[in-house]
Subunit: 540 residues, 2 copies
């Protein structure tokens, strides 16, 4: 149900769209400017460009549009005027309108729908109206009142937070559904970039070409088309040479870890060593599937292989390209050391979760490319396209190939066919690599915004792992923060900002810190969220 519309603001919906404006763009305003002003105005949202600073018209227009979406004047599904039309009405250059639309598209609030024009596709996540925070460009008219509102603790009593108890199995569901104005939890790419039109085109082609038998039961290892596409993708992007027959399509890295844990357990392996700090989520999955997870320290060169050797573990889960959550890259000497450990009979599970997102140099090669016999490689589209697709891939080492195929068969008889075939087309057509290039540019801007915001608002913090990925980690020295980081994360959530405390991801004592995702948020949101954290730090 669309939110109620204001009486005095005409709303562009598909059925109410004024024909003269949308079908035939007016090269000049339909009426003369009102006397006494040289600025244009538009009936649309009763915009008057006289309200905007000359250097900040795009900012102004973006802010007006955000307000209109937030307060329901532009409900989801409504259509915006063509950029030429609105630019002509407002007496601004078309670039101003294009830029404003682009920003809301980047937010995920607008989407271009080809000949259908630009449509409102989502309201802000928070129920409260979101107002724009200053960008790092310094051209935004700062709305001090709204900023003050964001920085002050809300007047309602604190809601229960996911940080009240040690994290249980539901922790990520609790955190995901906790309301927040700015979600800086790590692990998400920019979801607004999902290529909806390309996906639909590929789906149409798949549905046209698929023989009827393709709707039946299939190979539990995945469709040949996707296994081929993944093998090609890994060759192009990760330096891995694999035969399509070696690829096992799975329902994301989550399923991959479960299958590996279960197969190792059946093989008499009782534990998989993990990096410390290292992903809480991965550890939860391994433990659910009966694996102990002895912690191995991570330093600035990555996992400490001497400690791994000393632990006696026969298998280890590592994130060599961009360690989670510290972001360190496994150093060259350390890689060789790990290889020697594996050559002596150890099994490496390589979680290559976000290696493609590297900003300052080419991605480091996967371990799998060097030691295929001892490395079980796991990747997924969750950081490339969308977690909601639940598609990933495993390259098992030969020793476990058959056992992992059985495990996948008896888990679910194989992934669903249609999304596999659609994804194969996007991979083979170059669409996914185009998306990745767009994401790298966009994510890099967001990372830069987060680093600038951390410098401005968290002066005592040290930044880790910002050269790649979708998140960074900050730690606080004793002079920066003396409390527990779960308390800090809880206070931030109370003030509307969602983050992970570093201690969630550590099994041994760690310095207080936060793991901050930037890829899914706009620079404005990032700046605003980090400012709130700074305020919480100072007031705590």
């Amino acid at each position: 149900m669309p939110p109620p519309c204001r009486d005095n603001g005409p709303v562009h919906r598909s059925k109410e769209r004024p024909v003269d404006r949308s079908i035939t763009p007016s090269p000049s305003p339909p009426v003369s400017p009102p006397p006494g002003t040289s600025h244009g105005s538009s009936d649309f949202l009763q915009l008057n460009v006289g309200d905007a600073p000359v250097g900040g018209r795009a900012d102004w227009l973006a802010q007006e549009l955000r307000r209109a979406v937030a307060d329901g004047r532009l409900p989801v599904g409504s259509r915006l005027p063509a950029t030429r039309t609105l630019a002509a009405d407002l007496h601004v250059s078309r670039g101003v309108v294009t830029e404003a639309y682009r920003r809301l598209t980047e937010d995920g609030q607008l989407a271009g729908r080809g000949r259908s024009g630009t449509i409102v596709v989502a309201a802000p996540v928070s129920a409260a109206p979101v107002t724009a925070a200053p960008t790092t460009m310094g051209t935004t008219p700062v709305d001090h009142q709204s900023l003050d509102h964001h920085h002050q603790p809300p007047r309602t009593p604190h809601p229960p937070t996911p940080f009240a108890a040690p994290p249980g199995p539901e922790i990520f569901d609790e955190l995901r559904t906790a309301p927040a104005r700015v979600d800086l939890a790590p692990g998400l790419l920019d979801l607004a970039a999902f290529p909806r039109a390309a996906w639909l085109r590929a789906e149409r082609a798949v549905l046209t070409d698929l023989p009827s038998a393709g709707f039946g039961y299939g190979d539990p290892r995945g469709t040949p088309a996707l296994r081929r596409a993944v093998a090609n993708w890994l060759a192009r992007n990760r330096g891995i040479r694999a035969d399509p027959d070696e690829v096992l399509i799975v329902a994301g890295t989550a399923q991959a870890l479960g299958l590996i844990a279960d197969v190792l357990h059946r093989d008499g392996v009782p534990e998989i060593a993990v990096e410390d700090p290292g992903s809480l989520g991965a550890r939860q999955h391994l433990r659910y599937w009966r694996m102990a997870t002895p912690p191995i320290p991570v330093d600035d060169d990555g996992i400490r292989v001497d400690a791994l050797r000393a632990s006696g573990a026969r298998a280890v889960l590592v994130t060599p390209a961009h360690q989670f959550p510290t972001g360190v890259v496994l150093g060259g000497a350390r890689r060789r050391e790990l290889m020697r450990w594996a050559a002596d009979g150890g099994l490496i599970v390589e979680d290559d979760y976000d290696a493609e997102h590297r900003y300052d140099r080419a991605p480091v090669r996967a371990l799998r490319s060097l030691l295929p016999e001892q490395v079980c490689y796991a990747g997924s589209v969750s950081k490339l396209l969308a977690p909601a697709l639940r598609v990933g891939w495993l390259l098992p080492p030969p020793k476990y190939r058959e056992a992992l195929t059985d495990a996948k068969r008896f888990a679910d008889l194989g992934n669903a066919a249609l999304p596999q075939l659609v994804l194969a087309r996007l991979m083979e057509s170059g669409e996914l690599e185009r998306l990745l290039r767009l994401l790298r540019r966009r994510h890099r801007r967001r990372r830069d915004a987060m680093i600038a915001a951390v410098r401005a608002h968290l002066p005592g913090a040290r930044v880790h792992g910002a050269a790649a990925g979708l998140h960074l980690t900050v730690t606080f020295g004793p002079e920066g923060y003396r409390g527990s980081d779960t308390d800090l994360a809880a206070a931030a959530l109370t003030h509307g900002v969602k983050v992970h405390p570093l201690s969630w991801h550590a099994q041994r004592p760690s310095p207080p810190g936060l793991v901050l995702g930037y890829a899914a948020r706009t620079p404005d949101e990032i700046t605003q969220g980090v400012a709130v954290i700074g305020e919480v730090l100072r007031s705590g």
Copy 2:
């Protein structure tokens, strides 16, 4: 790559389509009939209706089209003339062409693509050209040579068959990929009926409406939209009242069984009793997940509850609406007896795998509707829409709701979102019920064809469970067949026909029998396949 075209037969492909014929249908033939004949002819495939018997023109045309698809003159992707055009060219009624197109559509070889016309979407599964066998209508011109070919053992040595050894974990993959001219293995609905256009329309709507956050991680229990749609579906079609919050979306019944087995194992339950005979596939899944599967006999009223009680098992897997493979319905007294067993603390796992496909009366109510506290209900779209979608649902009893949610979370974090949302639209719009009505009519015709063929070609066989479902079972008395049914299934496969031996599904000695799927095959294929089995029986 399309097969080579014959030089003298023009092929309709999208780019080669003659404009005058396809865009503007000619109400009369473009040229006068050749002198000396009163029959029409068409350039298309050089058809001449003079070759057809007057009462069998649709049969003749269907056969010509099948031949053209089989030998590559009509490659996959090629477009057929409009029915009006071809009817006018051939001097036949439009109904003749429509009927011929319908038959190949039912085969899965053609598909209507709206304004794009009728397209060849699949070649026959077998590499050898398939020729039409006689229908039960008796109007088909019988091609004795081709029939003889089908009935004679091939001259090549026997290929290795999936029946050489007791069935292992790969058995269904081996059987699926074994080449055969006629696949009468049970478990498939008519895949040619998959509503491609409706699916694509719903997918477009989903992609238009979905907020960006919908591409992220979601509720591991499934999207609210599909859980609501499933609750409504179960209320309308299975007499089950369930809150959407009780519904757990899973990756098909296969995953449901694995999750249940794993949760019961964690709860200290070492075994799930199963019907005997009962599904080999289900038993394999339970055993992989560490459950023993003690067999409980099935008689004409369904599972023997006295034997279940005597077994001491605390959980049982049943198929009360249409027992697999015998097809018996759990009788009223037996239902009450099973309920009392459950009320004493037993857990019933109700696999409601094909209950919607009932031909002679309304489907029997699900056990879950009577005893929600003790019944874990499992259903899926594999017999309603397509196994390749890998979507099913569980209604756990309250005792195991949380444990099964955890199991699903740590299996794969939940099913993929887009197919769930598309399916929810098809369920809520009535599209799935429309499909089900079409399938019931079509499957019923196929069932009738199979019963007629069994009477004609397997005179010693007894037919079981033909009142519902997608398959029936035949057993042979001592006078009918004295060998092993795996030998019989192996011989049938050697002669190009795929079936399940009944003994695969039995843990204790059973009379020799075959489980025969009819829903996925045309009446012609069914007749042909059963005739081959009869020939094999007589020659064995």
